[in-house]
């Protein structure tokens, strides 16, 4: 019997790997961001396959929505040419080969370690998603301190970014005077 679940999984995995490579290899940065968006959507689909619907929703809203649009805005603010091509020299071939060898050796080491371990796989379907209620109840009971820490980090990053940009502006004003 053909396992529909495995076929879905393989299609999604191929989509994720191709879009991850294209996000780094596409010549034009705008296309690279579109491929990155495709990658995040693929990861969200993988979460749906594993019955993690709520996390998939956040993944699509935050990554595929907000982060991709923010990166796109940064590209629009910093690009110089009309076509969006980067005026950046790509790495030399020697650098590329060395990086490839390093990345592949790290991957090979991890693959060897992972293949030695006996990973538990559920025999039937994945467990019930338990609903979003279990996640949010757990956040406000067992994980209150990390949750507050995350909120502080988010607030600090926002305030810090605004402060950095304002400092730039005030420097310019002083220089012009």
């Amino acid at each position: 019997m053909v396992n529909v679940y495995a076929i879905d999984y393989i299609i999604m995995a191929v989509l994720i790997i191709i879009s991850a490579i294209m996000a780094l290899e596409a010549r034009e940065i705008v296309y690279a961001i579109f491929f990155f968006d495709l990658f995040t959507i693929g990861i969200g689909g993988m979460f749906l396959l594993f019955n993690a619907g709520y996390v998939a929703m956040f993944q699509l809203a935050v990554y595929a929505g907000a982060v991709a649009v923010t990166v796109l805005f940064a590209v629009m603010l910093t690009r110089r040419t009309v076509t969006g091509k980067e005026i950046i020299s790509f790495a030399s071939i020697r650098n590329k080969i060395a990086s490839l060898v390093l990345a592949l050796s790290i991957a090979a080491l991890m693959l060897i370690l992972v293949s030695r371990y006996d990973w538990a796989t559920p025999t039937g379907d994945y467990p019930d998603p338990l609903g979003g209620g279990a996640i949010f109840t757990s956040i406000v009971t067992n994980y209150v301190v990390p949750f507050l820490g995350i909120s502080l980090i988010l607030a600090a990053s926002l305030v810090g970014s605004v402060a950095l940009l304002r400092e730039e502006r005030s420097k310019k004003e002083v220089a012009s005077k």
Partner: protein, 124 residues
């Protein structure tokens, strides 16, 4: 409907991790480096979810950690892009190798100032 083996997802996330590492090592554009970091974070969240659903048999701890990672990644992207815009304003390019020149210039200025103050002392 049967679950796919857990190793498949671990292998997949190792592949994504090595692609992200390769991107970080070879690219000079700051945006590409940020995309590489996001790829690595995506691989990590994928692992959290699959361990939560198969190894821990449906415990929500992996889901919660994934939510935290997503929030942290959003904050990291904001800071990275602000640094990118500041680099662009200073240097006029988003090439990360130019960022070291900025530091060198500042050191040169400091050395010049040192020389000036020394010269003043010698004159005095």
């Amino acid at each position: 409907m049967t679950a796919v083996p857990t190793e498949w997802t671990v292998y997949l996330s190792i592949i994504i991790l090595s692609i992200g590492l390769y991107g970080i090592f070879t690219r000079r554009s700051m945006i590409r480096i940020l995309l590489g970091v996001e790829l690595i974070l995506g691989a990590a969240t994928l692992n959290f979810i699959v361990f939560s659903m198969s190894v821990l048999n449906g415990d929500v701890v992996g889901h919660i950690l994934t939510l935290f990672v997503i929030a942290l990644a959003a904050a990291e992207t904001i800071i990275g892009l602000i640094l990118l815009i500041m680099l662009y304003k200073d240097v006029g390019s988003i090439d990360i190798s130019l960022a070291s020149d900025v530091k060198a210039e500042e050191q040169d200025e400091e050395q010049d100032e040192d020389k000036l103050t020394r010269g003043e002392k010698e004159d005095g």
